[in-house]
Amino acid sequence: MILTVDFGSTFTKLTAVDEKSQKIAGSARAFTTIETDIRDGFNTALSELEAIVGKVEYEEKYAASSAGGGLKMVAVGLVPELTATAARLAANNAGAKVIKTYSYELSDEECDEIHGIVPDIILLCGGTNGGNKDVIIQNAKRIAEIDGDFAVVVAGNKSASSAVMDMLKNRKAILTANVMPSFGKLDIEPAKNAIRELFINQIIEAKGISAAQKMMSYDIIPTPLAAFQAAELLSAELKGLMVVDVGGATTDVYSMADGSPTKPNAMLKGIEEPFAKRSVEGDLGLRYSMPTLIEAATVSKVAKEAGVPPEEVNNWLLRCSKDQGTLANNPKDKNIDDTLAAMAVEIGIMRHCGKVEAVYTPFGETFIQEGKDLSDINYIIGAGGPVIGSLDPAAVLSRAFATAANPFSLMPVKAKLLLDESYIFSAMGLMKKTRSELALNIMMAKLKEVG
């Protein structure tokens, strides 16, 4: 028997996996107890699990964690569309929550802001190899002056690296390969690995999870990275795949596709985004981020779609803001929550996908594409409570499709809609490196087609 654990911000979730029958043997959860001892919540859930699967010796134990605020990061680059975007993509793919991305030389105000964010890690980039050195060196100097216990991953112009590391000599700093070694070309794996290393060696300790680490057979990784790995695993079987995971605080979108142009006369501009891409929308969520979600969707649109007067939307927002644990347990509230989940899907997917801009030349219309063209994706998987628990998940998920309202967005046109109905995504993703077949088989068996 194999045990997977997710130390979440609220719940510690345990899943027992039986490799012989290739099935989930049982799961249990308890409140995360990071304030006292992380093991308390774990043990409570473990004895609950014991009641289901019996007292067993687990051969392998895997864990992910988003306890203690997850992996909070700040990304710093030079040009917004270039190394700053590359830095954000790298941090997202590492499973971080990127609170903010900065470009050009950091100002006093921005340094204060970073101080206030209290990041776990700052990813410092800027310049292609042999390119601009001044800005990354200056930013290293500024970052060295910011008070805080954060670590710095340096992944910029290699010609500036010794000067940058010198500026950061009194900080926890790791030097790794440039996220954009030559113009427009990304190399984000090294930065992703450096972030992972730091998470394992320092962040776990700082967040009081090291006691949990000692009980596990493998390194604890950030929960979103486990979900990322699940999507990567599935893409071997489900070619052309997107995942949308709506939560209380964020909406995470993953795409496993190369995203090259499908329009015959489209030309790709800007950086080449990676085949496996994660984006995180920190303003789209159904509880903690409900105010910003409603702001992005607009009250009038939410009200119109839900078929209720705007006051009802505002009342619901008020109630949920007072108590983040508010549950929609009558049809009226549920209707608004489901509408909000649909909006989160639509906006999250739209921001993840690339877009085209029509250019009128003397001999007709051509298109300039930025980002990934995901119009010919084949599968969309819904994850997260607000999607899975909605009354009509197919309706919520189909908001991922392109509509006439957004003609320039490269959103999916048609795709099979699937649901991570038993919430096993991150648990299975944990086993990617060691037991990929088992994890893939279970996920394939458990995914439910909707619509």
Binding site: E81, T83, T128, G131, N132, S182, M267, Y360
Partner: protein
């Protein structure tokens, strides 16, 4: 400035791709680091690429006759982005038809271009000019 990086591209909505490839080859053989942005390149793309790569010069091509409109304002955008002193070169068929080139050159120099090349200009001569300008 010690950088040997040139940003190369065909500006505006211009799709003439052949000359661009030839220039990329010629400049690379001459020892430059070439960042080729290809065709249909906006002014912002030229500027952003030059900032990240610390380029010594931007080489703009325009073949389809709209060069004057497309090229206007690039110098100001460079100044704005802190690329003061970066060399700007332009060539191709930068205006419609066979306009008086002395006048054309004057116009483009006033727009902030350091060197302006007429149709049929020799690429070898241009390379010599660049090397001289950049102290290589």
């Amino acid at each position: 400035m010690s950088s040997k990086t040139l940003i190369l591209g065909v500006i505006g909505a211009d799709v003439h791709a052949v000359g661009n490839k030839i220039l990329e080859n010629a400049f690379t053989l001459a020892g430059f680091e070439v960042v080729n942005l290809g065709v249909m390149v906006s002014q912002e793309e030229f500027v952003n690429a030059a900032v990240e790569t610390d380029a010594a010069a931007i080489v703009v091509s325009s073949l389809y006759g709209h060069g004057e409109i497309d090229c206007r304002g690039l110098r100001e955008k460079c100044d704005e982005a802190g690329l003061s002193g970066i060399k700007l070169y332009v060539g191709g068929n930068i205006v419609v038809g066979k306009a008086d080139f002395v006048q054309v050159e004057k116009t483009f120099k006033a727009m902030g271009y350091d060197r302006v090349y007429p149709p049929g200009a020799s690429v070898e001569d241009a390379i010599d000019n660049f090397k001289e300008d950049l102290g290589l």
